[in-house]
């Protein structure tokens, strides 16, 4: 049976040693060296995406960016456990999940550039666009899960949120409903230790994972910087959901190594020693050491991985900078699914106003 111990479950030591866990091992036994290398590549690439997007913000090309530095294993490990027909309801930091889901790189950044109201069509990738409202997406996930339950299909909803969100009403309501209806939903909490400037200990006097059982939802507390533990836990939760077992809560204990967003300066409220301590638990480092042990990684593979990451970063940069400014009238698009008379009148009025700047290009500037 699953061990719901309060200690974060680990399958990979800090030295990259594979630690046996009879209850979890079967869920990751299929991962051979190549599969592990693929996970590692994902993590290197998403870290590179994150670095490039942060640079783009500093260069004025993005308005804001929420870095995920340090949370690569939690995001990649869980995203790669999903089936294509599962539906993801993310917060705003799950850019690695979006990458794994195949979201177009330019679509990931266009909202942060202020270029679009939302980045992509959720139904083409089965992943909702980022929820800025803290925790709101958990309700969407539970609602979606109730829907598939009634449709009698075995797709699962997974929703991502942070430690801070667990203090929000929405998340608690979502768990109440999920438990009541035994909805097929996975609550994936990345406890990155900081709700902007507030340490997790302030709002959680017990482990975050301890909250779920109060709603009747079993929980797993895993090392979120251990991609194997993350994948095993997510697969367990997905399996429970698919087989009528209802919701599961996963607390992936990880660490936000960067700022909350590019507008934040964590040095104002965070002890540098804490960051130094977590750097020793870097998720990439750990997997790299395992790959070394398995002799899967070679200098050539390493160089190839870096080249892939650099190419992705260049593609992201070119796509971001190349985005055309949206047409002013596009602000009226996608407000209603059906024609709306009031909105149409506003659109006409606004179009007239724009024309009044003059017909010659540039004359109205």
């Amino acid at each position: 049976m699953i061990d719901f111990s309060p200690q974060p479950v680990q399958l990979l030591s800090l030295d990259g040693e594979r630690m046996p866990r009879p209850d979890l091992d079967p869920w990751v036994d299929d991962l051979d060296g190549l599969a592990l290398l693929a996970l590692y590549r994902d993590m290197v690439v998403v870290r590179r995406i994150d670095t490039e997007a942060t640079a783009l913000q500093r260069q004025g090309e993005l308005g804001l960016w929420p870095p995920l530095l340090g949370q690569e294993a939690a995001q990649v490990g869980s995203a790669r456990a999903l089936r294509d027909d599962d539906f993801i309801f993310p917060s705003y930091r799950e850019n690695a999940v979006a990458y794994c889901r195949g979201v177009n790189l330019t679509d990931i950044v266009k909202v942060w550039r202020g270029n679009a109201q939302s980045g992509w069509d959720p139904y083409t990738v089965n992943m909702a666009t980022p929820a800025i409202i803290i925790g709101a997406q958990t309700l969407h996930a539970t609602g979606w899960a109730l829907g598939v339950q009634r449709d009698e299909v075995d797709s699962v909803a997974i929703t991502y949120f942070g430690d801070g969100a667990t203090s929000e009403g929405d998340v608690n309501e979502a768990m109440v409903f999920a438990a009541s209806f035994q909805a097929p939903v996975v609550f994936f909490c990345q406890n990155n230790h900081w709700a902007i400037s507030e340490p997790v200990g302030l709002q959680a006097h017990r482990q975050i994972a301890d909250r779920a059982p109060g709603f009747g939802i079993p929980s797993l507390r895993i090392d979120g910087n251990d991609v194997l533990a993350v994948m095993a836990a997510t697969r367990i939760a997905l399996d429970r959901a698919r087989t009528g077992g209802g919701p599961t809560f996963i607390e992936a204990v990880t660490y936000r190594m960067g700022p909350h967003t590019t507008a934040d300066d964590p040095s104002r409220y965070r002890d540098p020693a804490e960051l130094a301590e977590w750097k020793t638990r870097d998720p990439l480092l750990r997997l790299h050491r395992l790959l070394e042990r398995l002799e899967v990684i070679t200098p050539e593979v390493e160089a190839e991985t870096q080249a892939i990451a650099d190419a992705v970063a260049a593609e992201l940069r070119a796509g971001c900078i190349g985005l055309a400014d949206p047409e002013p009238l596009s602000v009226f698009d996608h407000v209603y699914t059906t024609p709306n008379a009031t909105l149409e009148r506003q659109r006409t009025d606004y179009a007239g106003y724009l024309t009044s700047f003059g017909s010659q290009p540039g004359e109205g500037r």
């Binding site: 004025g60 308005g63 202020g114 300066d265 004359e363």
Partner: protein
């Protein structure tokens, strides 16, 4: 191709940032995303990654200055375009298309930082809003205030009075250049002094007028309620327009409008920083103020006798010198007034030296330079130090080092003919002494009424650090020395 990089909004809704340090120089070859500068915003110090691969051709602004979002800070000579598609980059020949234009923060001026935990964002939010009102800029230029503006503005960014005053003393490295450019740019648009004076028109018409270099205040509106229409503007072109084609910058106005009933000036520079320091002090340290009025005739007589003494005649010893000396002696007996409340460390710092701050009114505003180790100086040494310090402060040549590290302050309000007040503590200090004017007053003297030289001392102290007993004893000690200088013998 030369690419100009303009300062982007590095946070959410920030309007200006300080270049802390440049890590590159003109001629340096840089890689894309290479760390080229450290920039401090109201929220954070951030590393600026190079937006281009190429050679640095020019640093437009030096380190240490505050730059508004959208101003050019560095140019690159970029060979080829492999890594840098043109769309977002700014060619030198199209300066209007800022790199930040496409991003949402381009409209940052009206926004305020709204996340928690980011320090004093509010103080830094207002300036560009005023810049955006061209009339204001023109008005400032007209009144001659703009000359001081860039130097002080450029070096703003210190935290307390001491820090900021340092910047005032510093020579302005780029005085005038950019700010004057701003002012010149701003006169592109009609000079108006308030919303009420703005001619009635619509944004498209204003844009047309601006492009044609027409001052809308000179155009007569024929639309509804005097609204200026497109046709009015076009009709105006055919009428008398200055032959040079230059916009009219100062509309000829006579009558009452020439003397506006109120004017608005941006809060900035030393005023802004003094305000911040005073608010911080007044609303952080619980102030207690005590007064003591004393007969200082013996001190006045002492000063007279010193002036008559060949050995002291040229020393310039005055009442402030004696008060300063008395204060140093009294500090020795009540060390609690010479301390600092270190909230972040949870500690009280006891100074075993006296860096005596002297509040000085200068043409630029209040500065508080201090005399280092004033307690070790004798009367002549103190007099010399005071003379040097006040001269430097008034000339604006105070060394930055002299503006920080004060431990206790004296302010001489007597020079303004004032008797007493409730001084606000220089932030970080536990006490401040205000000395009033010496007046001849009828006073009790040896059981009789006599005309005596009388002075009032006002002492404010931080009640977190100093209790009434200590503050009172400190003030009484100073009073005792001034009332009877010989009593010093009982104190040292």
């Amino acid at each position: 191709m030369i690419k100009v990089f303009k300062l982007p909004d590095l946070g959410e809704g920030l309007t200006e940032s300080e270049i802390v340090a440049w890590l590159v120089a003109p001629g340096d070859e840089v890689a894309l995303n290479q760390h080229i500068a450290d920039v401090e915003t109201a929220k954070a110090v951030v590393e600026l990654p190079s937006p281009f691969a190429g050679v640095v051709s020019e640093l437009h602004r030096p380190a240490g200055v505050v730059v508004h979002v959208g101003e050019p800070i560095v140019s690159f000579d970029v060979v080829g375009d492999a890594d840098t598609p043109d769309a977002g980059a700014t060619d030198a020949d199209t300066p209007d298309a800022g790199a930040t234009d496409a991003a949402a923060p381009a409209q940052a001026e009206k926004r305020e930082a709204n996340l928690v935990g980011y320090g004093p964002a509010v103080e830094r939010g207002g300036h560009p809003q005023r810049r955006a009102r061209p009339g204001g800029g023109a008005a400032v230029l007209a009144s001659g205030l703009a000359v001081d503006d860039p130097a002080e503005d450029g070096s703003a960014g210190g935290q307390a009075v001491g820090d900021t005053a340092a910047s005032v003393g510093r020579a302005a490295p780029d005085a005038g250049t950019s700010a004057v450019t701003d002012q010149v740019t701003s006169v592109d648009q009609p000079a108006v002094t308030s919303g009420a004076d703005r001619p009635r028109s619509t944004p498209p018409v204003r844009a047309l007028a601006r492009d044609l270099g027409i001052d809308l205040t000179t155009v007569t509106g024929t639309g509804r309620d005097g609204l200026i229409t497109r046709d009015d503007v076009r009709a105006h072109i055919t009428k008398s327009v200055p032959a040079t084609g230059l916009p009219v910058t100062t509309p000829d106005r006579s009558g009452p409008e020439a003397f506006p009933r109120e004017t608005r000036a941006p809060i900035k520079s030393l005023r802004k920083l003094t305000a911040k320091a005073m608010v911080q002090s007044a609303f952080t340290a619980p102030h207690v103020t005590e007064f003591l009025t004393i007969d200082v005739t013996p001190t006045v007589e002492l000063l007279d006798s010193l002036r008559a003494d060949r050995g002291f005649a040229d020393a310039g010893i005055g009442i402030l010198t004696v008060v300063a000396k008395a204060l140093c002696i009294a500090v020795g007996r009540t060390p609690a007034v010479n301390t600092r409340w270190d909230e972040s460390a949870g500690e009280i710092v006891q100074f075993h030296y006296v860096n005596l701050g002297i509040a000085a009114a200068t043409p630029r505003g209040l500065v508080v330079p201090n005399i280092v180790d004033a307690d070790r100086l004798d009367l002549q040494g103190l007099a010399a130090a005071l003379a040097e310090l006040t001269t430097a402060a008034r000339a604006g040549t105070t060394a930055p080092a002299a503006l920080s590290g004060g431990t206790i302050t004296v302010t001489n309000i007597g020079v303004f003919g004032i008797d007493a007040g409730t001084p606000i503590l220089n932030p970080g200090e536990a006490a401040i002494l205000a000395m009033g004017a010496i007046r001849s007053r009828p006073w009790e003297y040896r059981g009789q009424i006599a005309l005596r030289k009388v002075l009032t001392l006002s002492l404010s102290f931080d009640h977190r650090l100093v209790d009434g007993e200590q503050g009172s004893r400190f003030l009484a000690d100073i009073g005792t020395i001034l009332a009877d200088p010989a009593r010093v013998l009982t104190m040292i």
